[in-house]
Subunit: 726 residues, 2 copies
């Protein structure tokens, strides 16, 4: 086995072992009082029950899809049938495992974080972050191991041609995104239905505070944080890294093929070039390990600073690792003499990617933190009631898409220009892939920060429900606020990387089309052709229709909870008086069933629309190639590209408007309470802020994050089914 | 002069004369009591003052732009400089006149409609519709006269080549859309700032009913209906018909040139083919006249039925007229023997266009009328408060884009297919233009229905403020509700026709590029090329940023009003007690200044972005044609096409969500009042409905309608400046 394969296997196994070490580190911590354990166990049971049922549903859907993929290929490209369906189901299984790991550690770390908070802020911070890192490291390592494992099997056992292997295993990304879509949708619907339902029936109707143990929906709400944010986002980022790994390998193979003479026509070098994306990812993993371990804080310091420091350390080390990888692959050997600039051109592309992620984080902070004017403007508009709060929140959400659009455009065009001038053929598109690799370099650290969010949220809930003293609540509240910020930031990161990854996967799609079509030259995606224009319309429309259905699903599931809580209050008035215990399990069970029922319709919409559009226009083209000059592949390509653009923009709108409303409410709560002047908690202004926060919930936690997965699913489904559309 | 020119001149002059007859018919009606006249005069003064100032601002901006157009052309394509700038300023002036006419009749018809309502429903209905028809007929006739007039001048005095004239006078559409954008924006900001401001400070803060004479902002609110809905939409539809006329003529010239042998190489036939779009429009005008005069109702019948009947009559007659025009141009002479199917293929395309407009009206009705489930679902969600009202309204708005997207797609692809199989070269794209002509056939009637809305709204306000008896209020309330429906429907119509017109203008743009570039073959709009992809991103982003700025402008202008009303209440407590008269003029003046200030920023964004993007990428292409393979023209084309798709979708979302919220509130108001069960006027459910209605105001009356104009401005600015981007 070559040294680069050994390195990749070694690093991914090391990262997993390190995740196991972190599990031990977290698990040995104190689990607090009996009361706390009782609550934590209720959350644990609910989350596990949900995930068990959800996974069952998803695996059934995945099995049916595997079969369909196999059959479709058998009729059209039989040589791909086995590999496409095998890698699809492996990808799906890995994604299920990734989601499960994220939730497994999170429901165990929440109580330990709460318990550590009784002693020190640093202990609580480290517990939550290291637990988050378990999921971050494990997921990124698994995606690396899955891709390199499949690659190695195909190489040594399958006997496939090296440069074609990435095309054969592209199904791994499709399987992963298939599961991620349903996991994110189901979890997102669960978490927000529980949240909205609990708030409306508890805070608004019964007038009891958030996380009050008398509210029968309160455990469902805490369960939601785990299944939506941990399991959902875990599957989402697993998918990002897996799909991006494979897409970049497809482009790397194309790069080698276009310049084989420069690379010395050497099969060993071919292997090295194809594995370049995985090598870069391996270095990124090591940087994340170091970054995570570097995080510590003092009692009186802002824990957000510590997390930011860790992030910058990781990013810096990832750049260094990128430089090493780039020099190793492109700075040595024959290619170094014929294209001496290539290695540092690609290095700069990687840095562009890392900078893009930093800029996305800054922009997200600007639009969602209450230090800055957008959130303040929403808080200010709340003075005149909920209507102006909503109007100004939507205006902020619409406006916030401008900078990210410019940043993404600049990243694409500058890396493309660097690639074209690298001295290598086909360098342009490969370079945009390199920028994406750079952006995804610190993925494990970002994912750790993300999982940190629901853990601290849960810790706060446990402290609240077990009625701990004020000073501990202050600590967990502070950590919870940091967690809200990290969740918002990682959404910005996820959407930015989704945009770049989609562009990368699209280029891989073009390579694939070239590979499989003998008489057909892919002419590009000319949207001035009527059928292609229609593909573009369908892509944009899909984003809106999907978001509508996702939001509606939350509404329906929330109605189910509200009804149940009302029933419980009516059946046993002792619940509200605090003399009898509500039936938490009934609520958990109800929302589980509702969320799983509701996730199917929007999920199938996304999976089936590109397939249908592709097949319809393929058939129309076969019927009348004069009128329908464009093939199904071109129409689907337009759908994918425009769906990506619109999906990214709408996701930014939904995520950031939601985050801004959330923090506008917090900002009002921090004002000195003064009802006469309409300020602070309990004022009309605050009530308007609560309305905005509630509206934002399904935006930022259901529809928005599901759109990230939609974008990537569009890419992977197109990539895998491309041969069928021509 | 040829008979077709005589026909077009004749019909447009006849339609204008008919409009004068209608003015006389309306003006001779009774003007009610002294109290009513006092109110009506206040509205009249306010509206005229606003329009005077707005026109001054717009004309200054237009003059500067004329100069810029002249200079830009002088340096790059001097032969076009004079015609481009001349037709630009003429288009701008005509658009100003169109907006003025709409408002002129509307502020005179409101009181006459109110007064007629004291006698009979039929009288009131006819007064409002005939007044609306003044604006509808005049505007469509003016756009016809303007285009044919410029064409004739260029032909007989300018001595230009017949087939190139439409390219020379394309500036007319640009001038019209330039003015339309600012008119719609300024009017839209004015009307909603006044509406939201008056509601918040009156209904919410002071607890006085809508249209209460004690509210100092109430006249500003009534003025708003005139300047936003009449003047704004008048300029908007003037622009649609003018730009579509010219775009279709460009494509008709291309059709002739591609098939000159079939047409017998006959310059007279060339003239006939080029004028085909105008002939079809002329027949459409006649149909509208008949349709308008056919509308009458009985005391006990639903006036909406009468309006619908008139619309169907107009549509049917427009189809007949289309058949005549199509047969005349393509069914006789040499072309009839070589392409015998052409005339009825194009006829079917025209019918497709008319059916598209009918389908758009139906879809809009489904999503915005309270008979159907979407609005009911919003009303239902209001039970649990404003947050769920907003969430479900946004879900309805997101969802409503699906059917229109499918209808537009079907219209484009089917007319394209009919054109390709017509037997004529280049028939495909021309056929999509023919569908657009069909859709715009009943434009004058639709515009009459649209202007009907603000007239009846004002009539209701006058009746309310002059404290007329209950039975008259019931009549004007009923007419007002019909007016709300027609306003919603015409917005659906406007957005649908904007989508088709943009596709048409884009094809004209390609023809123009071919005409002016000698060494450059326009390769299509391949969005898989990075620069073109970036153009697409910018197009989508522009729609969101523009909407954000438009919505924010309303918020800022509304704040100004709220402050002023509060001041007035504080200065003179007698206002609220009804003992002293508020200062209406101060409010009107204030919102006028605020609206004009706020319209400039979003307006310039739309005008300058395509110019900047086009010039930057032209320059990059000149710098490095390897990296930046795409020219500025291709990048701008992507921006235009994707901006159109996203603009149409977002406009549908904003218009229909706004309309649905409005009617959900009305639906709740119609419930039997039962506060214990949270139903009817004054309940919490109703309050939630009011929040949704207020949120929807800037959506449906400012941002949404301005997006229609944005779409068309993108097309016309690209069309006119295309020669500069290559």
């Amino acid at each position: 086995m070559s040294q680069e394969l050994l390195l990749i296997f070694g690093v991914s196994i090391f990262a997993m072992a390190f995740a196991v070490y972190l599990i031990k580190n977290v698990m040995k911590r104190d689990t607090g009082t009996a009361k706390m354990q009782e609550i934590s166990n209720a959350i644990k049971e609910g989350a596990e029950a949900f995930l068990r049922r959800q996974n069952k549903t998803i695996l059934w859907l995945a099995l049916v899809t595997t079969l369909l993929v196999y059959l479709l290929y058998t009729f059209q490209k039989p040589e791909l049938a086995l590999w496409a369906s095998l890698s699809f189901i492996l990808g799906a299984l890995s994604s299920v495992v990734s989601g499960y790991i994220g939730m497994w550690i999170s429901i165990r770390a929440n109580i330990r974080t709460a318990s550590e908070a009784m002693n020190s802020m640093n202990g609580a911070l480290q517990t939550a972050l290291r637990a988050g890192a378990v999921s971050g490291l494990f997921i990124v390592a698994l995606s690396l191991l899955g891709v390199v494992g499949l690659f190695t099997i195909a190489l040594y056992l399958g006997g496939l041609e090296t440069s074609k292997i990435p095309l054969y295993i592209a199904g791994y990304g499709f399987g992963a995104s298939f599961v991620a879509l349903f996991a994110q949708l189901g979890g997102g619907i669960y978490t927000k239905a529980a949240d909205v339902g609990a708030d409306l029936v508890g805070k608004v109707e019964a007038g009891i505070p958030e996380d009050d143990p008398r509210n029968p929906a309160v455990i469902a709400d805490l369960v939601g944080d785990n299944v939506g944010d941990c399991a959902g986002r875990g599957a989402d980022l697993f998918e990002s890294t897996a799909a991006e790994n494979i897409g970049a390998m497809i482009l790397a193979a194309m790069l080698y093929n276009g310049n084989s003479a420069m690379f010395g026509n050497n099969p060993e070098i071919l292997l090295l070039v194809i594995l370049f994306p995985l090598i870069a990812r391996a270095f990124g993993l090591i940087s994340s390990v170091i970054g995570i371990m570097s995080v510590k804080t003092k009692e009186d310091k802002d824990p957000m600073d510590a997390l930011n420091r860790g992030y910058y350390i990781t990013s810096f080390l990832a750049m260094v690792g990128f430089a090493v990888a780039s020099y190793w692959v492109f700075g040595t050997g024959t290619v170094a003499s014929s294209a001496p600039n290539a290695w540092w051109h690609f290095l700069i592309c990687g840095i562009i990617g890392i900078l893009t992620s930093v800029l996305f984080l800054w922009i997200t902070q600007y639009y969602t933190e209450y230090k800055y004017s957008p959130v303040k403007s929403i808080a200010d508009a709340s003075k005149t009631g909920p209507a102006t709060n909503i109007i100004s929140g939507i205006a902020v959400g619409f406006e916030c898409v401008a900078y990210p659009a410019i940043v993404i455009s600049a990243a694409i065009i500058s890396s493309y220009a660097l690639g074209v001038s690298s001295g290598l053929e086909n360098g342009g598109f490969f370079a945009t892939a390199v920028a994406t690799m750079g952006m995804l370099g610190p993925a494990a650290y970002v994912l750790a920060m993300d999982t940190f969010g629901p853990i601290t949220d849960n810790a706060g809930g446990i402290v609240e429900m077990s009625q701990q003293p004020e000073e501990i609540r202050v600590k967990t509240d502070r950590l919870d606020a940091v967690g809200n910020t990290t969740k918002a930031l990682t959404k910005g990161y996820a959407v930015g990387s989704a945009a770049l990854a989609a562009f990368l996967l699209f280029q891989a799609f073009i390579v694939e089309i070239k590979e499989y079509s003998h008489n057909y030259v892919f002419p590009g995606v000319d949207v001035s052709q009527p059928p292609v224009f229609i593909g573009a319309i369908m892509g944009a429309m899909l984003v809106f229709l999907f978001s509508a259905w996702a939001i509606k699903a939350v509404g329906r599931a929330a109605q189910a909870i509200i009804q149940n809580v009302r029933d419980q209050f009516k059946r046993d008035p002792g619940i509200l008086e605090g003399t009898s215990k509500p039936n938490y399990g009934e609520c958990v069970d109800l929302v589980t069933r509702a969320a799983l029922r509701e996730m199917v319709k929007p999920g199938l919409l996304v999976v089936l629309t590109p397939v249908l559009v592709g097949l319809i226009f393929k058939w129309l083209h076969k019927m009348d190639p004069v009128v329908f000059k464009a093939t199904g592949a071109e129409v689907v390509a337009a759908m994918l590209l425009i769906g990506t653009i619109v999906g990214v923009i709408v996701a930014l709108f939904l995520n950031n408007a939601g985050g801004a409303w959330d923090n506008a409410k917090k900002f009002i709560e921090l004002e000195p309470k003064d009802l006469a002047n309409n300020m602070g908690k309990g004022s009309d202004k605050h009530k308007a802020g609560v309305v905005g926060d509630t509206v934002g919930d399904p935006f930022k936690d259901t529809a928005g994050p599901s759109l990230h997965v939609l974008i990537k699913l569009l890419s992977t489904v197109t990539l895998v089914l491309a041969p069928l559309f021509i």
